[in-house]
Amino acid sequence: MIWAVLLPFIMAMFIPFVDKWRERIHTGFFVTIIPILIFIYFARFLGTGFEPLTRSYSWIPSLDINMVFHLDGLSLLFVLLISGIGALVAFYSIYYLDKSEQLGHFYVYFLLFMGSMLGVVLSDNVFVLYSFWEFTSLSSFLLIGFWNFKKESRYGALKSMLITVFGGLSLLGALVFMTVLTDTTSIQEMISQKQLILNSEYFPLILALLLLGAFTKSAQFPFHIWLPDAMEAPTPVSAYLHSATMVKAGIYLVARYSPMLSSSDWFFIIVSSVGIVTLCWGSYMAVRQVDLKGILAFSTISQLGMIMAMLGFGTKVAVFAAVFHILNHATFKGSLFMVAGIVDHETGTRDIRKLGGLMTYLPITATLAIFGTFSMAGVPLPFLNGFYSKELFFDASLHLEDIANAGFIGVLKTALPYLAVFGSIFTFVYSMYFFFGTFRGKANLSELPKKPHEAPVGMLVSPIILVLGVILIGLFPGMVNEPFIAHAASAVKGLAVSKEVYFWHGFLYPPLIMSITVLVFGTVLYLSRKQWAPVYRAIPGVLSMNKVYDGLVDRLETYSSRVTKAYMNGSIGRYVRLVLAAILIVTFAFMALTGGFTVDLSNVAPLSLPEIFVAITMVIAAVSTILTNNRITAILILGVVGYGLSMLFVLFRAPDLALTQLIVETVTVALFLLVFYHLPKLRKKEEAASTRFLNLVISIGFGAMMTMVAISAHSSKFFESISSYFLENSYKLGGGDNVVNVILVDFRGLDTLFEIVVLGIAAMAIYGLIKLPGKKEDQ
C-alpha cells in the first residue's frame, strides 16, 4: 500500500525528465497513468465482503512515527475519489493547459498533492497524517500561485496558505494533546481509548483545536474566505483540490474522529451549527457571484457545510447521507468545474454577465451542465444522484430524536430543518442561475473575447464520465450503496450502517414535501431575483470576513512594524537601559523571593585607614568622570581610578595584579588620549531631566544589586576554596614560589594560552581597522 502513496511522489521526481519531451507528447499523459494505476489497485477492494486492513512500515519508530496505513470503508471512498477524479482531471488538463505553460511545475505540484492527499486519508499515525495534511496545504499554495504573475494569484495563494496552515497547526496541537493523553499515535487506538480524552479536563480545548483544523481546511464559515480566492488556480486544480478532494480533508477528519467525538454534546452543537450556517451562507452568497468559478466556489462551501452538518447530526441516516453526498458532490461539482473551464477556454471569459445563449454554440457542454446543475439543485428526478442525498439530508434533519434536548440543543434541533430548507432554496437558485445564465437567453457574441465553439473531444471526456456517474448513481443507487457507501458509513459510525435508498416514498413523505417547497420557492426567487438583489448590498457589508482577514494581515505587518520600531530604534542607550532594567528587576525579585540576601559580618577583614582613603579617592574620581566636561580631565580621572585600583591590589597583597594593572592602566590612558585627540570635545549633557533621572535610577539600582549580591555571596561561604590545593602544591608539583604565576602558567595554563589568543585577535582586528580605508557605503 505504501507504493500507492509513494508512487505520485516518485513520479514527481521524474517529471522534469519527461517534461523535456513535451513538444512531442504532453506531460499530462504520463501523469494520468499514475492515478489510473492507483485507482485500479484500490478498486480491487470494492465489494460487500470488504474488511478493513492495516499495513505498517517503520519510519521513526523511536518517536512512534511510522507509516501505518489503515484502509477502511471511509479511506477507500476517499482513495477512490482522489485517484478517480485525479485521473479525470489530469486527462482534462492535457487539453486545458497549453504546452507553452510551465507544465513541469504544474504536474509536480499536482502529483505532490495527490500523494499527500492519499497519505492523509490512509494514515493511521497522527503525525504522518499531519505531515501529509500540511503538504496538501503547501501544494495547494503552489497551485493557486501557478500563474503568479497575477496579483490575485499571489493574494489567493497566501490567503489559502495562512488559513489552512493556521488550521494545520491547530490540528497539530489537538493531535499532540491526544497522543500525550492516550500515549499512542494511532488513530484507531486513540478511538479505542476515547474515554481518556473525553474525560480529560482539556477536552473542550482539544475539540476546539481539532475542529479548527477541520473547518479551515473544509472552508467552513467563517474560514471559508480562502476558497473563492483559490479560484485563481487553473480550473483543473479548482475541480480537483478545491472541490472534490482537498477541501474534503476537513470532512474526512471529522468523520474519522466521529466514533470518538460524536458522543459529546459540544460536537453536535458546534459541528451541526457551523455546518448549517455554512450551507446557508455559501448558497446565499453564490447567487451574488458573477464569475462562474465564483458561483461554484460558494456552492462548494455550501455543500461542504451540508456534509459537515450531517456529520454533526451523527445519526445513522445522517452519516450515511453525508458519505453518500461526498461521492455525489464530487461527481456533479467536478463536472460543473470542468464545464466552467470549457466555457472559459472557448469564450475567453467566465463573467456570467457577458455570457448567455451558449446552448447553440456548445450543445454538449450545455447538456452536461444541465445534469450537473439539476443534480446539485436536488431536483426530484430519478436519474440525479444529488436528489437522493439531498432528500436523505432533509430526512436526517427531521430525525434527531436520539439527541437529548438539553438547553440550546433543543432550539438547534427545531431550527435545523428550516435552515436546511432555506439553504437548499438558494442552492436551487444559484444552480438555475449558473445554467440559465450561461447557456440560455440571448448570446452576446460581441462581448466575448473569442468566438465560441464546442470544446475538443479530449476536454469533454472527463466531464462526460462524471455526468454518467451522476446518472448511473441516480438510476441505481444500490450499485454503490452496499459495496461502497455502507462500509464508509460504518467506519464513521463505528457500527454497521446500511440504508436502502429509494426514489419514491409516497406523497406525504416529509422530505419530499421539503424538496417540493425548495422547488417552488427556488423557482419564484430565481425568477424574481432582480427585485430582491438589493438585499446583498446590505448584508455582506456587515458580515464580510474578507475584511477581517485583510485587516488582520495588513495589521500584522503594520502593527509589527509599529511595535518593533517603537523599541528597536537603533539607540544603544535605549537597548542598554532596557537590558539593565530587565536584569535589575528580575534579579531583585529573585533575591526577595528566595531570601537570597544575607549579611554575615563574622568573617570580614577589619577596616583600616589606607584602604578607606584610597576608596574615597576612587569614589570621588569615579563620580567626577560624570561631572567633568573636559575630555582630557575625564580620561585622566579614569586613570586615577585605575591607579587607585592598583593601590588596592597592593594593599590587599596582590603584587602581580598591582603591577599588571599599573602597566595596563598607563597604556590604556595613553591610548585613550591618542584616539580622542581626533574626536570632538565633550559637550554639555543635553538630555531631558526625566532621562537623566531614569539613567540615575538604573545605574544606582544596578550598582546596589551588584553590591548586595556580593555581600550575600561573601556571607555565604559554605565551602573551603580549592585554593588551598594550589598553595600546597604550587612548589611541590608546579615548581614555583609565586602561586599566582604557577596557577596562570601551569594549573590553568589553558586560560593563559587563550588569553594570549584574544590579544592576538585584537591586534589583527585593530590592524584591519586602522589600515583599511573607511567606506561610506557598505557592499
Binding site: A605, I635, D737, V758
Partner: protein, 112 residues
C-alpha cells in the same frame, strides 16, 4: 573591609553604567573602563581579603591570601585590555567614518 570594597565596586559599577548610558562615545568607553575596574575589585573581594601574606611561598609563613581570584583577575585584566583597545580604535574609526561621535546620531535605519 569586604563590605566596604563591595560598596566601592558597586559605586564603580554605578558610575560606569551612568557613563555607559550617555550619548557620547568617549563617555561610553570611560563607562566600560569603570565597569571593568568594578568587576575586578569584586573578584578580589570574593576571595577573602587580607587573610595572610601575598601568595608567594615563603618559609615560615602559614597563611596566604587566596591566589585563585588573583589569577582570574590577571587573565581578565589582560582580556579587558584587548577589548578596550579594540573598542577605542573602533570608536575612532566609527566616529570618523560616520562623522559624529554621538551614538544617538548613529541609530541608522533598516535599509542601509
Amino acid at each position: 573591609m569586604e563590605i566596604l570594597m563591595a560598596i566601592l565596586a558597586g559605586i564603580l559599577f554605578t558610575t560606569g553604567i551612568y557613563n555607559l548610558l550617555q550619548k557620547q562615545l568617549l563617555r561610553i568607553i570611560i563607562g566600560t573602563g569603570l565597569i571593568s575596574h568594578g568587576a575586578h575589585l569584586f573578584i578580589l573581594t570574593m576571595g577573602e581579603l587580607k587573610r595572610g601574606a601575598p601568595p608567594i611561598l615563603t618559609e615560615g609563613v602559614e597563611t596566604y591570601t587566596d591566589p585563585l581570584p588573583q589569577a582570574l583577575i590577571l587573565t581578565s585584566i589582560v582580556i579587558s585590555f584587548g577589548v578596550t583597545s579594540l573598542l577605542l580604535v573602533l570608536a575612532y574609526r566609527a566616529a570618523q567614518v560616520n562623522g559624529t561621535d554621538n551614538m544617538e546620531q548613529m541609530r541608522g535605519n533598516d535599509y542601509e
